[in-house]
Symmetry: C2
Subunit: 204 residues, 2 copies
Amino acid sequence: MSIRYAILGFLSWKPHTGYELKKVFADALSFHWSGNNNQIYGTLVDLHKAEAVTIEVQQQEKLPARKVYTITAKGRAELRDWTCSDPELPVQRSMALTQLAWAEGLSEAEFDGILSAYARKLGDQVLMYRETLARNRAAPRRSPREELIWRSLDEHAVAFYERELEWAESLRTAAAALGPGDAEREALRLRGREGGLYDSNYHE
Amino acid sequence: MSIRYAILGFLSWKPHTGYELKKVFADALSFHWSGNNNQIYGTLVDLHKAEAVTIEVQQQEKLPARKVYTITAKGRAELRDWTCSDPELPVQRSMALTQLAWAEGLSEAEFDGILSAYARKLGDQVLMYRETLARNRAAPRRSPREELIWRSLDEHAVAFYERELEWAESLRTAAAALGPGDAEREALRLRGREGGLYDSNYHE
DNA sequence: CAAAGCATGTAAGCAGTTACATGATTGT
DNA sequence: ACAATCATGTAACTGCTTACATGCTTTG
């Protein structure tokens, strides 16, 4: 899925300029795009080519001209078709989880270090999201259903980070409870016989 | 983050061929990459250029030759540095959530349709994951800590889809409880005055 | 006088995808 | 006969990112 339909969606709510769309994406909690220029201005050109939007250039006295994009009937039809199309499964991309997967070489302290750094970042993110939610942001509220959906999406976005945080903390506790970590065990092993209790036991 | 470190990670566990890595990524629950040829074979070439891996070509009688990749000390060092580096926040990309955000134009039945299609897909995915988990797959178990981490990552991956499923079902229930949907309200509005109760109330 | 806001756009590149290409062997 | 497994690789493309480029106005 591309940003095309997200932009078309915002335009279906009300006309926007490219600059406004940038801010909308930067503020949004439930839309994962960064809102960089290349994508937004480029997609707007594409949408115009496809006759999904019209452009109105508004000259301003002291500020640069604004290009206000308005959705057309064709654009609304395209958006509607897309919203009805078969939804894909969501994907979670996480650098931290891959780091943890390959943490075997790290000491107990280093391992706890990544987990706590991750937990701290997640905690900050949750706080930031909670603040943003408290500042009742601009969002379409054209019907009780739409209001419900947007509130639900916002809460879902925060909950995602909260669950991640809980998971990180629980793994941290569980790892701490394991007792002597790798570094310590390694020292013990070197003083004992080679080929420890816990070597690779891969089987096809 | 690129697939580079995920590949390096699997090689740090034990040597693999490109073909084996493909299967490993296809089976994995906690690694989000598709494991397509271009990425795997390309990255292996890069890793070899960087002297992070060595190649051993094994000729076979009846089958094509295998290139077995083994991690070097340099490769281990690179992986170790990366695992200690500052973790990034995870990102959730979801087509379905964007569809729901712009579902205003849809009837109650159509809206329920996307939600139920989404829920069904999520349910299937959860079942598939549970099955995969039951077939105790090949995974590194070099220490109790590593075993704990991998089990925890697997459970986390399933839980992600389970939470998503719960959320979808709860939104579905809440939307159904709202009473007369858009289509019905629209009909009522057309018979009444223009400018309904729930028009856009955007404020900067 | 520096920083932030307004407003448009472009260049270069990374990461990832599907689909194509080859070709022998084994199983249904 | 058709499909799957083994095993390597390439081509073309999409989506998204950071950073650059311009220039005027308002705020601290």
